[in-house]
Symmetry: C2
Subunit: 213 residues, 2 copies
DNA sequence: CCTGATTCAGGATATATTTCCCGATTAAGG
DNA sequence: CCTTAATCGGGAAATATATCCTGAATCAGG
């Protein structure tokens, strides 16, 4: 009954489908076929069908999938339909930018506290949040039952912030610091420097990648 | 003579190695073995060895790889050692945040112009750049021979910005808008909404992913 | 100089993911 | 009601990626 092997790449494509389906929905479209999605998004239609399969939504031959049901199913599958409390470590650089965009709610996250180690930042107001010392993180995270942590600190502070989070019961960490953090088994971590997608572009540009496959 | 099939995942891991090697280098370490890297980064050592192979660097049995040579080889392979001019479309949200971090230079990029469609933003100063109308993008991109474009605009403007970039000779686009853009063959595009890594975390958190494999 | 332990290099195997394919189902039109 | 064309569902084949394994090279120590 639990989901079978869930391919990583599928997980990364689901949000793409979700965004597009929401746009279709706004235009009043209520059913969509994999072939149409394939044309719109430039992905193989079989792949799309298999990806959508994990959400449990069934389509009708000759018609396609019901758009509203698909949107709901993907959001539910990703857990974006349930609010999860989160703590943010890092009040400089990317952190404030993320807060300012006020997009977290769309992804099921509610920030309950912002923390930093730099004394000059403590007490500052960041889009409505008061920046507090890192040492306060565990207490606040625990009392709010925060299960998600986001790290946008410089490299040398990332690991200790992760440790604090884990100690406070955080079970999933989105680490945007330019260094991987290690966590105990049972805690999920996405070590993903912001700029890495540039690698692919730059590299391909450099070597002109002859085959346009 | 040209590089063989270059696995995508390898491309994404190279920057991780690069960061770590730079840290090792700062600590005065001049050789490192794949087994050591494996312990540090939590990746399989065979995988690391195969990844590093694409850079052409050779290691010594019983010793490992020369750190400085490896750093240079990866930077060269990724094209981060050569400055490429780039245009930024989007003066709100992520765009300014990226500019403010002043990290682009590390990745071989020099921003030569910032553009937006919102009239209220035109003329504003953004970390030393004057925001100009999107219509000016092609001229400036062309005269600076910008080969890279970065899009941080809202969804409804992303495609037109991409088109402008392509028309001006941009050959690689890093699209951070929440919608994929389509480009002609021969142009590389990374459609990557900033928040997508959250999908993996949230989803796994939600379904508790039993197997800790 | 010889022995043992470590690591590279690269082929072989296993696993994961994508692509292909075909039978079954549905809607539209004659 | 029957035919046609589009699409789903899911298994099979192909491809891509990761892991395992072996032999050769190198260094340290006796």
């Amino acid at each position: 009954m639990a989901g079978k092997a869930l391919p990583e790449p599928t997980l990364h494509r689901l949000p793409v489908y979700l965004q597009h389906l929401k746009r279709l929905s706004l235009r009043g479209i209520v059913v969509v076929s994999c072939s149409t999605l394939s044309r719109d998004l430039g992905l193989d239609s079989s792949q799309i069908r298999k990806d959508l399969e994990v959400t449990g939504t069934v389509g009708k031959p000759k018609v396609g999938f019901p758009v509203p049901a698909l949107i709901g199913a993907i959001e539910h599958f990703l857990g974006w339909d349930k609010v999860k409390n989160a703590v943010l470590a890092g009040a400089e650089g990317l952190g404030p930018a993320l807060l300012g965009l006020k997009e977290f709610a769309h992804y099921g996250l509610r920030i309950v506290g912002v923390f930093d180690a730099d004394e000059r930042l403590i007490g500052a107001d960041l889009h409505g949040f008061e920046v507090r010392p890192l040492g306060f993180l565990p207490g606040i995270a625990r009392s709010a039952s925060a299960r998600v942590g986001i790290i946008t600190l410089p490299a040398h502070l990332a690991q200790s912030a992760a440790d604090l989070m884990v100690s406070a019961g955080v079970r999933a960490i989105w680490n945007l610091a330019p260094i991987p953090v290690r966590v105990p088994a049972g805690v999920f971590v996405e070590n993903r420097d912001f700029y890495f997608p540039l690698a692919a572009l730059s590299c391909r540009l450099e070597r002109q990648e002859v085959e346009a496959k």
